[in-house]
Symmetry: C2
Subunit: 197 residues, 2 copies
């Protein structure tokens, strides 16, 4: 079914066997290197671990960011799909929102430097950024809307701003003195409707 290549999706059609093997090897190697050295690890290191030349990487993933996107794609997908599930299962929309944000934060924090790389507009990570937004923004928006409608949080918060803010807060999670989760929690508190005011 369909190629839809260059960003890491299925692509099972009309490719040579060795090409497919290399693509898989690259994805596996990249995943390994990313957890070991962060998403800023040199391309050459990934190529070496996969046992291929640097040119081969660019044949499969036109740019560094495309490789990163491909590696994390299914995890992003899982996070997106969790949105509906949580909204249906939780006792209230706000609880669902909080749980979903927990998931989102976990995802960002456990990947070394993913949040760092995604926000800084340099390094051409725009593709990853866009994919993140395309997939997760609607989910976040739906959860926010539901919580607003339930009267649990104040209206007027832009989903994009919230997601970006949370993403930013997750930068530098390696520091033991800095726990992004506490600040995200603070943000959520600020989001809630206050009786006074």
């Amino acid at each position: 079914m369909s190629s839809e290549n260059s960003t890491g999706r299925v692509s099972a059609r009309s490719k040579r066997a060795d090409a497919l093997r290399n693509q898989q090897a690259l994805l596996a190697a990249a995943a390994e290197v990313f957890v070991a050295s962060g998403v800023d690890a040199p391309i050459r290191q990934i190529a070496a671990k996969a046992g291929v030349g640097t040119g081969t990487i660019y044949r499969h993933f036109p740019t560094r960011a495309d490789l990163v996107t491909a590696v994390f794609r299914h995890q992003i997908e899982e996070c997106a799909e969790a949105g509906s599930v949580l909204l249906a299962a939780a006792d209230s929309p706000f609880i669902a929102l909080r749980q979903w944000i927990d998931l989102f934060v976990d995802f960002l924090v456990t990947k070394h430097g993913l949040a760092d790389a995604m926000q800084s507009d340099s390094s051409g990570f725009a593709a990853l950024h866009r994919y993140f937004l395309d997939r997760l923004l609607p989910v976040c928006a739906r959860l926010l809307d539901a919580a607003v409608e339930a009267g649990e949080i104040r209206a007027g918060t832009h989903p994009y701003e919230l997601m970006r803010g949370i993403g930013n807060l997750c930068i530098g999670g390696g520091d033991p003195q800095y726990d992004p989760r506490r600040l995200v929690e603070l943000l959520l508190c600020g989001l809630q409707r206050h009786p006074s005011e």
Copy 2:
């Protein structure tokens, strides 16, 4: 009075006239280039604008971060000093805290990419990061303590975490769809004591 060089302080003793001239020219050029192209601007560009060679930069500022630190040093100082003034003048410690944070945010947002560069532990901006902390952390801590003591905000917030979080939120301020100030405001709301709970 003392040299105390390599980070941009006074250093008026025992230096050749041309060396001093170049250092001044570099600071001026760097300041200009930073506002034009952000703090990530290439060293060579700054050297060219100052009319010196790249080696000359490293003679005066051992590393890129030292140059950045030197350029912004007096502004950081101003921000630090504003803390006491605001605390003495404002109607309440929380108001002072909010005003001070406004100042802090303004500082970060108006320098293109300053916040970006400072947080990411790569690029060896550790020196800048430390200077920021050394100078501003005590101020933030004092404001926080005062607000806690006045019963305006919840206790238990670590000053370092708060400053770092705010710094993180200021990353990517160039995006018209993302206003760090709104999120910082949300954070402050979350900090306030809630009647319920």
